[in-house]
Amino acid sequence: MYLLFILLFPLLIGSALLIFKPKNAFVISLAASLIELAATAFVLQEASLSPVSFSAPWVAEAGLSFSLYVDGISGVLIGLCALLVPFIVATTANTDRANNSQFQGLMLAMQTALMGAFLAKDAFLFYFFFEASLLPIYFLAAIYGGENKNAITFKFFVYTLFGSLFFLIALVFVYLQTPGEFHSADMDVLYQTAKGLSADQQGYLFAAFFLAFAIKMPVFPFHTWQPDTYTVAPAQGTMLLSGIMLKMGTYGVIRLVLPMFPVGVATWGLTASVLSVIGVIYGSIIAIQQKDAKRLLAYSSFAHVGLMSAGILSGSIEGIQGALYQMLSHGINIVGLFFVIEIIERRTKSREIAQLGGITQFSYPLTVTFVILSLGSVALPLTNGFIGEFLLLKSVFDQNLTLGIIAGITIILGAVYTLRLIQKSMFGNVSRITSDFADLTGAEKAVLIPLSALVILGGIFPSTVLGFSEPAVQQLIQWFK
């Protein structure tokens, strides 16, 4: 029942905001997201003892049930989602979006879609939310986006939808193989059924599933929608996209692809890993010369997620645990980093790296938090990013030595572009547009400082999360092997 609450509560408040258009949307939205966080924390507390589930009949005649489930794996993701949304809401403080009830309402609606995808136990319910999440984010980006938003967001929408249609068709295929008059799309049943398919079928199905998730993540070469969309979307939209939404792709691979198609993964996993690793290097290299800070981060996110994908596809416990942890870390880091860029853009009206400089002289706290978040992003030990990347690189390395080393180059390239961004924006000479840079406001600090603290805490106490997810991952691995 709690699960139902954490699923529907944001939507409820969100639609109320959309319909009644109250004046103080910001307070309502923030309060709602905090209540959601508290409720989720409570659920996670329960889930750390044993998995929590909820089930209700849904489309009974098609064997679909409205079943929600929190175990170690989905718990991490709903935790991430519930944790980040309050921050993302808070980033609107003191802007004209703060009391824009439409904006806030769409964000909360988005939260429900994301929570739903992570909570779903029924594969179709997952798909349902997987696609439904496109709508609020599409409108967020297309209404509030920047230059050339129509074409870009449209491309994003059609592209991702296109991918997920293949997922749908493959899912229907497996679902129809399930026993019983009405079949079933419960994930456990699907695992069982899919395992019995022939190697060829597993291969095709793997490809269809992975395509959808690869576009969502994105994995090379299905990424061309991503930098544009991240750049054009409003900061909060970008945060939702990169912080949480892309995790639906990685989560989908963990939740569905690995347990359903072990043979498919065995046959095609390496190919997919290679693509992922190409993305890691490719994205990092492109990021090095980017002129637009937001686009740089977009490519860096592309690079990071490639490593997660490769780690997951290695099918090892380190890979999956590392990916889960990295999803959490990456979410925190990238939200913080995009917010830093947003802050700079608010004050200077520019994201052009070459035009910035010397900001540290005006805002020490901004510099410190920016550096900490960046360090998380370059995976320095004792930051959250290190734990994830360490485990991920190890898993890729164990799977294939060469691939692992190539993927490892990311720690070098990551440092190259991240440090460049820091230096050109924070350090160096003050430029014309940064010459009257105002220090952080209280609301901005209230976002950046906790996020930075999380970066460090995450690097020191990973076992809280890793221990939480370990049993579920162990179970998955058992099944996978």
Binding site: A62, A142, L176
Partner: protein, 465 residues
């Protein structure tokens, strides 16, 4: 069953009311009649019965389809306030009466047990549609549409009749049950060849009615030329009724000839999907685009018919309902905006006339968006489940290529449906607030909420039978 008698009588009554009552009252009366007939129809629920010497058969399936048809008619009538403002030349009562009659025809089409009954129903519906298409007498486009529809429609009727005749020749009966018996009892080698020919010709007659490629050519022209309110009616009622009838024929008497009819249907549905979706992309007129969209939806539904699963009738029902709800809203909004834009812009039905609609008319924009999403098959809307049920039905047949094409084409579909959404939300335009009469508002929101409800909880309809 009593519904068709009631509707026929009420239709005549309507004609008389036209002498005395104002337009508004007649509209209200028509709505009332439809509600009444729906109640009568609903009374047959769970009372399976044969009527008129076994020529008419009420089952739960037929009752559900009848209800959808009447629901569609109800919504169309609700939207109809704007039709025939020109009092001098139009007589609204006549159109309402014709609408009611055509509903009778459609109900016959979904409940027949005898080919004569089917033929009569089909012709009542068709002839009524010819009239309605041409009802805007002064408008050359409407004239042209009517003539095209009429010529091609009666041509298709000829083909269909020849098919029925050949089947009769081969099976010696017009009763569906007897035809089925005759086909199964005749050994394949002694089956006359014209049985197959007859079946195929009947099928072709249907393919014309549901506007499957390459028998779809009339659709865009007629949909565009006809007054929007009747396009709305045509695209919903005719389609639902034809699909129900097609299913009943193919899976009833001709079920054992699966091998003969299924391959043409596969290929034709693929061609339909391709033509409908691809051609829609380039359309500038929203109305014409919706016509192509209707063609493409015929492709999806044809796939289901070919699946021949236990779940097929409920899938067709669900799909028809979701398509009906969305289409009514879509055409409704097109109609309202085009009415507003008439005189303001050159081509009131073009997408460009819709730009900026959302600013002053958020409700209208929202309903339109939901309709488009549903047509595109995005989750949260009824259209998603429609596609889902179609795919799972057809997959049960282990048929893959048509499905893959269908998937690709639905991505193309997203492309053109979103052109409408982008226009109303993200393009600059200065459309003022459009005042909506209460009935229109009601119909629009009812359809929209219905779409959403079905999108979240499809079981309400899907497990009716």
């Amino acid at each position: 069953m009593t519904a068709i008698i009631a509707l026929s009588l009420l239709g005549i009554l309507n004609l008389f009311l036209g002498f005395w009552l104002s337009r508004k009252t007649i509209q209200a009366a028509t709505l009332l009649f439809l509600v009444g007939s729906m109640a009568l129809t609903a009374m047959d629920w769970n009372h399976e019965m044969l009527w008129y010497g076994h020529m008419f058969h009420t089952t739960n399936t037929s009752v559900s389809f009848s209800l959808i048809i009447q629901l569609a008619a109800f919504m169309v009538v609700s939207f109809s306030k704007g039709f025939g403002i020109d009092e001098e030349h139009t007589h609204p009562a006549e159109y309402y009466a014709i609408l009611l009659f055509s509903v009778v025809g459609a109900i016959l089409m979904v409940s027949f047990d005898h080919l004569i009954m089917f033929f009569v129903g089909l012709e009542i519906l068709s002839v009524a549609m010819y009239v309605l298409t041409g009802s805007d007498k002064r408008n050359l486009r409407s004239n042209e549409a009517a003539l095209k529809y009429f010529l091609m429609g009666s041509f298709a009727t000829g083909i269909l009749l020849f098919g029925i005749t050949l089947v009769y020749g081969a099976t010696r009966s017009f009763y569906l049950a007897n035809i089925a018996l005759a086909i199964t009892n005749t050994p394949p080698e002694s089956t006359p060849i014209f049985l197959s020919i007859g079946l195929l010709l009947i099928l072709i007659g249907f393919l014309f009615k549901i506007s499957a490629a390459p028998f779809h050519f009339w659709t865009p022209d007629v949909y565009e030329g006809a007054p929007t309110i009747f396009t709305m009616f045509m695209s919903t009622v005719v389609k639902a009724a034809s699909f129900a009838a097609l299913y009943q024929l193919l899976n009833g008497p001709f079920g054992s000839m699966y091998g003969t009819w299924v391959y043409p249907i596969y290929y034709i549905s693929m061609l339909t999907l391709l033509v409908g979706n691809i051609t829609a992309v380039y359309q500038q007129s929203l109305k014409r685009m919706l016509a192509y969209s209707s063609i493409s939806h015929a492709g999806y539904m044809l796939l289901t018919v070919s699946a021949k699963q236990v779940t097929t009738p409920s899938t067709i029902l669900y799909y028809s309902l979701s398509y009906t709800l969305a289409t009514i809203v879509a055409f409704g909004v097109v109609m309202l905006v085009a009415e507003y834009q008439t005189g303001r812009t050159e081509k009131p039905e073009n997408i460009s006339s819709f730009e900026g609609l959302a600013k002053q008319n958020p409700g209208l924009a929202f309903c339109f968006t939901i309709a488009m999403l549903s047509l595109a098959g995005i989750p949260l809307t009824a259209g998603f489940w429609g596609k889902f049920f179609v795919f799972s039905d057809i997959f049960n047949r282990h048929v893959y290529y048509p499905v893959i094409l269908a998937i690709v084409m639905s991505a193309v579909g997203v492309y053109y449906y979103f052109k409408g959404i982008i226009a109303i939300y993200f393009k600059e335009g200065d459309i003022e607030r459009i005042e909506l009469p209460g009935l229109v508002k009601f119909a629009m929101w009812a359809c929209t909420l219905g779409t959403l409800l079905l999108g979240v909880y499809p079981s309400i309809v899907k497990n009716l039978f």
